[in-house]
């Protein structure tokens, strides 16, 4: 069926089975490959995107549920939080293999958008669903704190 989504600010019409996870529509139909497949059951966070500004696991989100919704991917995320996160990611050379990092950046940006001064527990909770097998966690933690500080400016 034809479904219209707003992806990164543009209306996109895609032809897909409505049960198709958003992840595969983004990748296979729209060739937005920054969003990654890691588990398929919302356990790793590599597929994190924003739907109407909230972090969402695209691997378990049927595309049919998103008619008219606003989807933001790593390719399109912007604004003060996203910029501060990317700068902090660079400052600490956070990624190793990098495969989970799109999801980590999306989670960090969404966290700082709604909570510009997160406590250590807030950060722990926000990242509870984002696995990094390279264990870049120590740097993610520092980078999020640094981004929050810069945002406060």
């Amino acid at each position: 069926m034809a479904i219209t989504l707003n992806v990164n600010g543009e209306d996109r019409q895609v032809e897909a089975d409505e049960e198709t996870p958003l992840l595969w529509v983004l990748r296979d139909n729209l060739r937005l490959t920054g969003t990654k497949f890691g588990c398929g059951i919302a356990q790793c966070g590599a597929c994190t995107v924003h739907v109407n500004g909230q972090p969402r696991r695209s691997c378990v989100t049927p595309v049919g549920s998103l008619e008219g919704q606003e989807v933001t991917t790593i390719e399109g995320v912007s604004g003060p939080s996203a910029d501060a996160v990317r700068e902090a990611w660079a400052r600490f050379d956070t990624p190793q293999c990098g495969y989970c990092q799109s999801g980590q950046v999306m989670t960090a940006a969404a966290l700082l958008d709604r909570n510009p001064k997160p406590s250590a527990d807030d950060v722990n909770n926000a990242f509870e669903g984002n696995i990094c097998r390279c264990a870049t966690y120590a740097r993610i933690r520092r980078a999020v704190a640094d981004a929050a500080e810069k945002l406060e400016g």
Partner: protein, 720 residues
């Protein structure tokens, strides 16, 4: 499981390669004609300088997080005196003549060898390029080469006031002859090596989604394939019913291949949905239907007898007879999956000239290249293999059998060999698909004399060998698989009566090296057992270790002193917390970790880890620190949570991250890393950060609870 052996010629090359082959740095790169990015100045196989002033360093090792792109580029940039901002890295093509790993005899990455084996090669490549550019400038400016200064990618001559960039001189430099023995810098001349200036080259692309992994390769008219693998090791598909599969929109075809039944879709969703609808009859006649508990019992029974002796000294049994105290312990280490974030995947396409092009996260390129060619009925020269960034490996992509390359080629040919195919494994394929760290048992006996000296040590190990039957079989000698006893065959503690022996057990569960290989279990067994023996001898864990290390292990001892001092070892800790320590030499690097631990609902909570590492010259100190942090997190994840179990009947119990649990951000300890200053040649850091964390935490736990954990993961004690 399907697999191909390396042909004999390659296998001999492997063995010959162990002694170290020398690679010429001044090889002309005629084979690069296919490269679309050809630049005016290509002094050797490792460097391209474009007229856009970009210096591209070709990296012969795969980048999956351990930092070879940045590390090897740092060596080139330093010797060239390039500006770091003009430096880029990309993977070198698969070409065993040009890009051999001297430790393996083929092109490949592993064993933390990338920096150790590339240090001289990449520096010489950079120095040769610099000499050629300087020579070109000298001719152009009619100035003596010795008077030309190179700084941050700019050449200048004070006498004539002339200056030029690398890019401006690239074409002229291409006319120069490469020097055979370019002069290398002395360490005091380094501008990037050992300094903080060389930030990682792949950070930006990995924060924006631009970095391209194999899964991100899309070709025109590409089919996506997933394979239904047997749920029991050694089973084969005897028949299948695909009628429900073919009714699903977007399913292209279903084919039986050696490793199972392949389902092809126009898109990923169709392929995955199709696979779910398959009905397969499995032939279990050659299958492993025992449980992992049964296999563990076989290993435990084996270690009760002395095995093939890997090392011995003194008179072990006499020493036990005379010992005042004897401790004995049996350990069992579970099967572990590597679970890299990106499961195995790759893309293959027919070229117009009849050859094929492949994109995959290949870790042993020469073997994969060879197997891809065989699988497609082609010569290696008709196959181009592009090494892609990979989402982690931890050993999983280093396949002596090239089983994934074989499956990719077979899936492609089974569909007709024309339509491009992307083959992807799901997380379930990854967790249940074998190639695990072998289940391993250890038996340790230690004797302490009346004066508190540890006088006897007897260790027996039993496990499967993943080298047997592989291209690396030469590492098995006299019944000893070197990867099974590494870290136990020699220990850093002087014990006069000493014996280590091993048994190889066989079964159809496929196994593989897992980050730090044998050290993952020998490090745990040795470092927890020495801790218990020192306590029995009335010694402090740090002072006792140092006394037994002596001068012979001075580099490891220096890391132990440093980590103990960072942790303030002797100071009292907050109530309910204790420290544990472990020191492990692996892959030529020396690492000590001290962990501060408390118990929370019978599980350890690791608050902080102090880590000291000696890896020779630390080329990129931040990369070294990041690898220690990552090694600690990876090792901690496994020792706390991970175990792959085979149920009665042989099916794997775990299937995805919900039951093969990974460490989370909230569980990551604070980590403080100190790098021991050194002028020794650099050694690797990808693996050596992993072995000490498990025993360091276990030793702290024993201090808190009085109980030794001899069968990790620690969460097992909650459910056992």
């Amino acid at each position: 499981m399907a697999g191909f052996d390396m042909p004999r010629a390659t296998r001999r090359d492997f063995l010959a390669g162990a002694g170290g082959l020398v690679i010429a740095v001044a090889l002309p790169l005629r084979s690069r004609a296919q490269n679309a990015n050809a630049a005016p100045f290509e002094p050797n196989a490792f460097i391209r300088v474009g007229d856009d002033n970009v210096v591209t360093v070709l990296i012969k090792h795969i980048e999956f997080g351990q930092g070879p792109w940045t590390g090897l580029a740092t060596l080139v940039a330093d010797e060239m005196d390039a500006d770091w901002d003009q430096v880029r890295a990309e993977h070198a093509p698969s070409n065993p003549q040009l890009y051999i790993n001297s430790a393996f005899g083929i092109q490949g990455t592993g064993g933390s060898t990338a920096m150790a084996t590339s240090y001289d090669i990449m520096r010489k490549a950079g120095a040769a390029a610099r000499a050629m550019i300087v020579s070109a400038a000298a001719k152009a400016w009619d100035a003596p080469a010795a008077e030309i200064v190179v700084e941050k990618g700019v050449l200048s001559h004070a006498g004539s006031g002339k200056s030029a960039t690398f890019g401006e001189l690239a074409e002229a430099a291409a006319q120069e002859t490469a020097p055979e023995n370019p002069v290398l810098k002395t360490p005091d001349q380094f501008v990037y090596i050992g300094k903080e200036g060389a930030s990682k080259l792949d950070t930006g692309m990995k924060s924006t989604g631009e970095a391209k992994f194999s899964l991100d390769v899309y070709r025109e008219n590409m089919a996506t394939a997933v394979v239904a693998h047997p749920e029991i090791f050694g089973a084969t598909a005897s028949s299948f019913d695909d009628s429900a599969v073919r009714a699903i929109p977007g399913v292209i075809d279903v084919k039986q291949i050696g490793s199972g039944v392949a389902v092809y879709g126009e898109n990923t969703y169709a392929a995955l949905k199709g696979r779910k609808a398959l009905s397969i009859e499995w032939d279990l006649s050659g299958a492993e239907t025992r449980s992992s508990e049964d296999i563990a019992e076989e290993c435990i029974a084996a270690v009760k007898e002395i095995g093939a002796v890997a090392n011995s000294a003194g008179a072990v049994e006499d020493a036990f007879s005379n010992a005042e105290t004897i401790l004995q312990a049996e350990y069992v280490f579970p099967y572990l999956a590597h679970a890299p974030m990106e499961p195995l995947d790759g893309v293959i396409e027919r070229r117009a000239d009849g050859g094929v092009e492949v994109w995959m996260g290949s870790q042993l390129q020469t073997g994969d290249h060879n197997v891809l060619a065989q699988g497609c009925g082609l010569e290696m020269g008709q196959v181009s293999l592009n090494t892609m960034l990979a989402g982690g490996s931890f050993g999983r992509r280093a396949q002596p059998t090239s089983h994934f390359a074989a499956e990719l080629a077979e899936a492609f040919m089974a569909l007709g060999g024309e339509r491009p195919v992307k083959l992807m494994w799901t997380r379930e394929d990854d967790i249940r698909g074998g190639y695990y760290r072998p289940l391993t048992a250890h038996r340790l006996r230690g004797g302490v004399d009346a004066d508190g000296n540890i006088v006897a040590w007897d260790q027996t190990i039993a496990a499967q060998s993943f080298l047997a039957g592989s291209a690396f079989e030469g590492l098995i000698q006299n019944g000893i698989d070197a990867t099974m006893v590494e870290g136990a065959r020699e220990i850093p503690y002087a014990v006069p009566n000493f014996r280590v022996s091993a048994h190889i057990v066989n079964n159809p569960v496929s196994t593989l090296w897992w980050r730090s290989v044998g050290h993952t279990h020998t490090g745990y067994a040795v470092e927890t057992f020495i801790d218990e023996l020192l306590e029995a001898a009335g010694k402090d864990p740090v002072e006792g270790r140092l006394a037994m290390m002596g001068e012979a292990h001075s580099r490891l001892a220096a890391t132990l002193r440093k980590a103990a001092s960072m942790a303030d070892w002797q100071a009292s800790r907050p109530a309910g917390r204790a420290l544990g320590v472990a020191s492990v030499e692996s892959f030529g690097s020396y690492v000590t970790q001290v962990a501060e631990v408390s118990m929370q609902r019978d599980m350890p909570r690791v608050h902080k880890v102090w880590c000291a590492v000696d890896c020779g010259i630390a080329v990129n100190p931040e990369v070294v620190k990041a690898q220690m942090e990552g090694g600690i997190g990876y090792g901690l994840s496994a020792i706390l949570f991970n175990e792959l179990e085979l149920e009665e009947g042989g099916a794997v119990r775990q299937s995805n991250f919900h039951d093969y649990r990974s460490l989370k951000l909230s569980e990551m300890p604070e980590v403080e890393v100190a790098i021991i200053a050194s002028e020794e040649a650099p050694t690797g850091v990808g693996e050596p950060g992993t072995p000490p964390i498990g025993p360091a935490v276990a030793n702290a736990m024993r201090r808190l609870t009085g109980k030794a954990v001899r069968r990790p993961p620690f969460i097992r004690s909650l459910t056992a």
